[in-house]
Symmetry: C2
Subunit: 340 residues, 2 copies
Amino acid sequence: MGLDDRKLAVLRAIVEDYVATQEPVGSKALVERHQLGVSPATVRNDMAVLEEEGYIRQPHTSAGRVPTDRGYRLFVDRLSRVKPLSPAERRAIERFLVGAVDLDDVVHRTVRLLAQLTRQVAVVQYPSLARSKVRHLELVPISTTRLMVVMIADTGRVEQRLVELPGPVAVEDVTDLRRLVNEKLVGSRLSDTPPLVQALVDESTPQLRPAMATLSSVLLETLVERHEERIALAGTANLTRGGLLDFQGSLRPILEALEEEVVLLKLIGEAEPSTTRVLIGDENEIDNLRAASIVSTGYGPGSTIVGGLGVLGPTRMDYPGTIATVRAVARYVGELLAQN
Amino acid sequence: MGLDDRKLAVLRAIVEDYVATQEPVGSKALVERHQLGVSPATVRNDMAVLEEEGYIRQPHTSAGRVPTDRGYRLFVDRLSRVKPLSPAERRAIERFLVGAVDLDDVVHRTVRLLAQLTRQVAVVQYPSLARSKVRHLELVPISTTRLMVVMIADTGRVEQRLVELPGPVAVEDVTDLRRLVNEKLVGSRLSDTPPLVQALVDESTPQLRPAMATLSSVLLETLVERHEERIALAGTANLTRGGLLDFQGSLRPILEALEEEVVLLKLIGEAEPSTTRVLIGDENEIDNLRAASIVSTGYGPGSTIVGGLGVLGPTRMDYPGTIATVRAVARYVGELLAQN
DNA sequence: GACTGGCACTCGCTACAGTCGAGTGCCAGA
DNA sequence: TCTGGCACTCGACTGTAGCGAGTGCCAGTC
C-alpha cells in the first residue's frame, strides 16, 4: 500500500496542474503535460490507488481528479521544494525595506507587500508585547487625577492608556512615579513584570502608594493580562480571485473570521523559530476557515521571534511559492527590526 | 410633468418593497401591499411616467420595476422621514458606551457597533489630527542620536514617530527641547502650527538648533503635511448578505476600495456640522463604489467636529433606518468624547 | 379628464430531452 | 507490469415548450 515514486509523481502533477488551472485534471491531459513516460491507462490505475488512499477525489463520476486536503499535505511535506524567489520579487522586497520610518510603517508596508506578492490575504502581527522589553515608560499628567501612561517597547511598539487616579497627584509626585517605574521596569520582559510591579507598590512611600497601586494595576491589566496584541490585514480583495470556485461559493465565513483578531492571532501568533507552519483546509481548527489554508511563520530581529506573519488563501494554493515568499518577507522584516 | 402625490406614493412604495424583498416589484403586488386606493392599471400608468422621468427602471421587459439611483435620491430627500430608533438599538448604543478605556477602545467599539446595528460595512475615522490641539509633546531618548517623539492630542489621539538626529544630543538638551516645544505648541491646533514650528527653530540657541530643525521638520511632515489620518473598519462580512445580487456579482471592487484609506477618508472625512451625508451609487466619485451607497456624518464633542463616521452598503439600503442609526451613534460618540 | 377592466404581448425562468465529450474502470493481451 | 481498447457515466450544453408575472394599450365608465 506504500506509494511508489510514480504514484507520487502523479500526485505532484495533479496538484500542480490543478493549482494552475483550477480545473479537475484527467489522466490524458496529465501525460500530455508531464513527462511521466507511461500511458493514460497506467496513470488511471495510479489515480485509483491515490483516490483509495484519500489523496485525491473526483468531484463527480466522469470528471478529472482534484487533490484532497490530505493530498496537499503530502505534496507540501514530501513532494515540493521551496521555490527560489524571482529577482523581481527579491527587488520588490528590498524596495519596500527602504524608507520605513516607524513600526507602524514597517507593519503596514509588510502586510501590503505580502498581499501583493502572494496574491492572497496577508496578516501581520505587531511585535508581541509579551515578547518585548520595556524601553521607557512615560507618564503625562492630563489633569490632576488623570495620567496618560505611554510605554515604549524595544521592538518599537508604543502603547498608551489613560489612568484614572484615586485622587489628585502633584506634578513632583508624577516625576517620582516616573522615575520609580522606569528604574524598576526598564529592560525587563513584560511577561516577567508582575512580581516587579507588585514590588513597586510595596516599596512606595505612603504618599505615592495609592497612585502607584492604580498605575500598576492598569499596567498589569493592559500590558500583561489581556496582552494587547495588534494585527494588520491586507489583500482581502484577493479572496475574490478565482471566482466563487474557491471557498465553495461564499466569502462570508472567511470575512467573518478575518474580523476576529483572536482567530487570526491563533493562526499566525503561535510561531516557532525558523519553522514555516502550513495549515491546510480541515487541519484548521476554526470552522469558518475549513476551506482555506494558512501559511505562517515567526519573525523578529536575529533569531528571536517577536511576532508572526502569514497569508491565508484557498486550499488550492501555490504552496512552494507562498512558503518561499512568506519566509523571505519574514527574514527581511527581521533584519529591518534588528537595525533599530 | 411634476409628479403628483400619488406618483410619489408609488415611488415610495416601490423603494420600500424593493429594499425589503430585493425583487423587482410589479403593479399588482404593489396595490395589494399598500393602501393606494387605485387599481393596478392606474399604478402602471404612474410607473410609466416615473420610468420616463428616470426614477425607476425595468431590469427587462416583463419584469417589475426597480428604483434607480435617482429614485433613491428623491426618496431620501422628500419621501422618507428619519425612523426613530428602537429601544433595543438605543440600549445597544448605551451599553457600548460604558467601559471604554481608551480612544482606541472607543473607536473599535463604535465601528463594531455601527456594523452590527446597520448590518453594513462601518467606517470610523479617528479624530483628525488637523482638528486636534496639542496637549503634550514628549521626547524620549532612544539612543544619543535617536529620539522618540510622542504627541498627545486633546482628542485622546497619541501619535509617535522616531526622529533620527543629525548628531548626538545630551540628555539635558533633550530636556530643553522638550520644554521649548511644549511651551510653544501646547494648546495650538496642529493645522496652525507651521509658523510656530518655524519660530521654534529660529529662536533656538545655536547648540540646539540642528536638533530642533530635524525635530520640527519631522513634526511638520508627519503631523501636518501628510496628516496621519487613521481609520477603523468593521462588518465587511455584511457585504455578502443578499447574495451576489447587490454589487452586481463581484465584491472585488468594493473590497479594493475599502483597503484604500485615502478613498475612505474622502468619503467620510469631509463631514460638515450636524448634516448627514448620503451618497447614492453614481453620485459617488469613486468608480469602484458605483454600486454602493454611503451614509456618513461628523462627530465630536459638543458641536465641534473632529472626525467622520459612516456606513457603506448596497444602493438597495434601508436609508431612513441607516441614517437614524448613523446619527445616533455619532451623537453618542460625541458625548463620550466630551466627557474626557 | 381620470380611473378601470380587459386583453394581447413580452420575456425570463424552469423543465425536459437529446447530444457531446471528457474521463473513467475494466479487461485481455503484450 | 504496462498498454490499448472499449463500454459506460455523467456533467455541460443546446433547443424546445409551457408557465406566469408583468406590461402597454384601449375602450368603456364615472
